[in-house]
Symmetry: C2
């Protein structure tokens, strides 16, 4: 066949060197590729692995004292900067934990799920019994309340790595509740997990009867241990903590139950003492993002994720001038309710210092606020949200500063 000569590119005409994007690039540059792991052909056939050139990993956030070998409770952050599309690889799904890395090792044959409280017929289900109810499979994000940008966060993995998105399969909780017969006067359900501290959460009965899943499947296979094997609750659009992992019972009750998990939701400060359940519209640019460096002026694919607890993403806008002007980004994935949605934009960087931000509007018409707007709402100084502890979800706009040398940093800093 004919020559390999490559002539001028129309699309990339403004480009200098190639952009540093994705997992592959984090292995490129100076560092040699890791040697291939030697696996037998038999193992390769049975269960394939990723390329030895792909080295994207999660990292831990150390926080409170815990009994594991780290000695600290930690959450595990998903590498959003390396991901494409909307599905998070199950091996890289974020992990929120109460007790460090200690994951209950539950034998699925011994697993039981109890549904009781204000019901006509309290019932206990084995995993096999749960699978004898009609299943549904839906793509939803899960996001931890702790997913908030702070000034000392350098990368998007740090600012936003506590959200992931999977196809979840399970039984609608409403089907099981109807099986049990919910009694008059019931208003809330309390779900409890099997981990050492018995994490629990209260959600309104109306939500439980709507779209919650008692899920056993994640991205086509059984839920991973770190994400609740064999069964977890999925509460689409609500804070992660309500998506109880290692689900062992749900009690139907007549009022909100305070639980261990409420450390994350109840504040003594009356200004922020209200109960927040559902994520607002949110988005973040994953390229270019903190810690990355643009090799030079040129044409880039700006990309990121948007989502909302209120339903489907309707619009994502991007500003490259600190929020003065906004331009619609393209939606570059399939769009599902309460699911990550991939957006992108062809962006030409001339080499000037600038600030990049994205703004999500959801199907309810809710618009993602700036941090300053949210602080003003609470009548607080502009840095209010990220200098305080846990009081509510942070769905504010993430600004990234691009310096003249191409380096990208968190503009909160």
């Amino acid at each position: 066949m004919d020559s390999k000569k490559a002539s001028r590119r129309k699309f990339l005409k403004g480009g200098a060197a190639a952009a540093a994007v994705g997992a592959i690039q984090s292995a490129s540059g100076q560092t040699p590729a890791p040697a291939p792991v030697k696996r037998s052909l038999k193992d390769e056939v049975a269960y394939g692995e990723r390329s030895h050139y792909v080295t994207s990993v999660r990292v831990a956030v150390l926080e409170r004292p815990s009994p594991d070998e780290f000695g600290l409770t930690f959450h595990v952050l998903t590498p959003l900067q390396d991901q494409v599309g909307i599905i998070t690889p199950s091996s890289l799904h974020f992990v929120g934990t109460h007790r460090g890395a200690i994951v209950p090792d539950i034998d699925p044959r011994e697993y039981r799920f109890l549904l009781h409280g204000m019901v006509d017929r309290p019932l206990e289900f084995t995993l096999e019994e749960l699978k004898r109810f009609p299943s549904v499979s839906r793509i939803h994000f899960v996001e931890c309340l702790g997913n908030r940008a702070r000034a000392d966060h350098k990368t998007v993995q740090q600012t936003h790595g506590l959200t992931s998105c999977s196809e979840w399969t399970g039984v609608l909780l409403s089907v099981l509740l109807k099986e049990c017969g919910v009694q008059k006067g019931a208003n809330w359900v309390v779900s409890e997990g099997a981990e050492e501290v018995k994490g629990a959460g209260s959600i309104p009965l109306a939500k439980a009867m709507d779209d919650c899943l008692v899920a056993y499947g994640q991205n086509g296979e059984a839920i991973r241990p770190q994400n609740g094997f064999p069964v977890r609750l999925i509460v689409p659009g609500f804070e992660g903590i309500y998506n109880t992992k290692w689900l062992r019972r749900i009690k139907v009750v007549d009022h909100y139950y305070m639980t261990y998990n409420d450390y994350g939701h109840i504040s003594k400060d009356p200004k922020v003492a209200g109960l927040n359940l559902q994520w607002g519209p949110k988005s973040v640019i994953t390229f270019p993002s903190g810690g990355q460096k643009l090799p030079g002026p040129g044409v880039y694919q700006l990309t990121g994720l948007a989502w909302s607890g209120g339903g489907a993403v309707r619009k994502v806008e991007v500003s490259a001038d600190g929020g003065h002007t906004w331009k619609d980004a393209e939606i570059r994935s399939q769009v599902h309710r309460m699911a990550h949605t991939r957006f992108g934009m062809t962006w030409k960087w001339e080499g000037q210092e600038c600030m990049l931000q994205s703004r999500c509007t959801d199907e309810l018409g809710q618009v993602q606020p700036t941090k300053a707007q949210l602080a003003k709402f609470f009548n607080q100084p502009p840095d209010y949200y990220h200098t305080h502890g846990v009081q509510g979800t942070d769905n504010t706009i993430q600004p990234w500063r691009v310096a003249a040398d191409g380096s990208v940093s968190n503009a909160f800093a």
Copy 2:
């Protein structure tokens, strides 16, 4: 909290013992659970693994002589009987191979993709350059021509395990073709992979300009080595062989090019010598399916997958009486064009011998045929299709026979 007493179940009232469904069940019963693999906490944090209770694996089909340690070319079958939802876990995606298990080990920094032939500007792209074009992420199935039921196939993994479904991310081939400038008179494109035999395939230019993807992402991460790392072609709805893995070049040409891969498509028999490209509407029941056994009469969740190369699945019907009567199944996943779609039905088995079949209708109104209907179309005896070699796609209805003792078998046998 209160008692665990479980009273009568309304929904499962017809049920005896629980149904044997899914990956977990294949590990249950007599066999003890595999011991957990000891991994360091550091490794667990970086990259999580599935539960040691989940043992679902792919199996190889040995066929022609090949240079790997098996000594035979083989395809690798995905365990459809264990899967839920529509996403195939990347580690369990089926693998079609020309040369056994020998997977090219391509350094993504050295990777080049050449687009040439009848174009104004032949261009060669690095992986990083491909990522500087706008990306799209879409859920599509891939299915090998070899995916056909034979009388000696016992399980759904054997009859249908050469199809899988992923979220693919990449650049539309049309974008790259426009970048190169397609010349007048061009009608076909030939794509070639980097494997030892240089697998290649010809597809119409109209398809190349429509919805084909030069893909680098699969289920949120880089494409797996066995599925074409770092770049493969996705030709939605077309036979698997056109979805060239380890894509190294595409040549724009004016007529169909015969290639090595045509062994699977061209026949000397004039009755079947026509070129078939696109999958028709297809479906299969994955539970109950061959090799499984119903523990006794009762209420079960019949479930399966449906798909079509012609677009979205519009309807799936199920017959439990050998095709005399059909009833609409429920669609239990999100529906995408040229993608697996999960269907299900609550089914009460009274203990009688019966035959189960599913039938897919797609958005074009195409209806999945029986094997006898297809044979009649070719004026051949009813067992025609599965006793012959490769002549075209087999999208015929799969019948499963349920015996009075609950055992399920391939009704072709």
